[in-house]
Amino acid sequence: MKMDDLAVLAPQMAAGASPEVFQQLGLITRQLHDTLNQLGVMPKLQAAADGLPDARSRLSYIAKKTGDAANKVLNSVDMAKEEHQRISSETRRIAQAFIKDPVKAVASGAVLNFVGDVEAATDRIDRHLTDIMMAQDFHDLTGQVVAKVVALASDLEDSLVKLLVQAAPLEQAQRVESAILNGPVVNPEGRSDVVADQGEVDDLLASLGF
């Protein structure tokens, strides 16, 4: 049905319709108008939606960089621990040899070999520690990207919350904001629905008899 048809039909309908029907129609029309208006005048929502593919690639970049860094660190720690373990066992071995026969331990070259081995091992450990230090460069690289994605997400969240509150029934509107913000809690201060640390988890479970 077109608007022209409505213009013809309206007077005919008006003759038999109650004022409440017109009031209801007016209300629905106003809500529709407001909602469409909101959609049309929300440039931030449009801009945020346009930025989503870019945000996705930025987040993938962060995930890759942080994952690579974590693996590099863990590999280096594993190797450094192995070196450390080797030095410990060699130290115990040479100490026993020294206690048993000091002259033989020195004369056989075992002590000198041990000193050389320790020096080589500490050099390797130092390189592993340097690798661990260098792996932290992801923080600088991803920090800037995180800031941009956070700004984009914040804009998108603001726009969507406004839209949801606008469209939701009154009694549900107040619940919208808290419902969409679930996930890891960054700022637990002042909130009663989350725990701030492991101690609070234990207290809560204890209060329930667990």
Binding site: N182, D193, V194, V201
Partner: protein, 132 residues
């Protein structure tokens, strides 16, 4: 089981880094026998196909999350005896209460320390020993 350190752990987390960290910490605590799964569905299949003694699970995971895994384990007569320790970034009280009511043996919030993991694992071990 003669030696508790022979216990076999299943670490469930969608982040390989976290699986590796938990595995490393368990090793330092004295538990060297551990396998990994990247979501609840894979974990459930592994649990049904091999014998495990302890499950350490994240909550937010794709395919099957930690709550779904916990429910599936507790609903299975052959698996329900398994202790499931939740290790998660979810700090909401309703999640902690839900985990406890669904049968989780413990709940650790990330970030956590080696001491916390050790304390919770030992506590669960002691409970298991007491009920055995």
């Amino acid at each position: 089981m003669s030696n508790p350190t022979d216990m076999k752990f299943l670490i469930v987390d969608d982040f390989s880094t976290m699986r590796r960290i938990v595995r490393g910490l368990l090793k330092e605590i004295g538990y060297h026998n551990a396998e990994e799964a990247e979501d609840g569905a894979i974990a459930l299949t592994m649990l049904k196909n091999a014998k495990f003694d302890f499950v350490v699970s994240d909550i937010n995971m794709p395919v099957m999350n930690g709550f779904e895994l916990l429910s599936a384990v507790k609903a299975d007569d052959t698996l329900k005896h398994l202790p499931v320790l939740m290790v998660t970034a979810e700090a909401r009280k309703e999640d902690i209460v839900r985990a406890a009511k669904d049968g989780a043996a413990g709940y650790i919030v990330k970030p956590f320390t080696k001491a916390t993991l050790e304390e919770k694992v030992q506590k669960i071990m002691q409970k298991l020993a007491a009920t055995a």
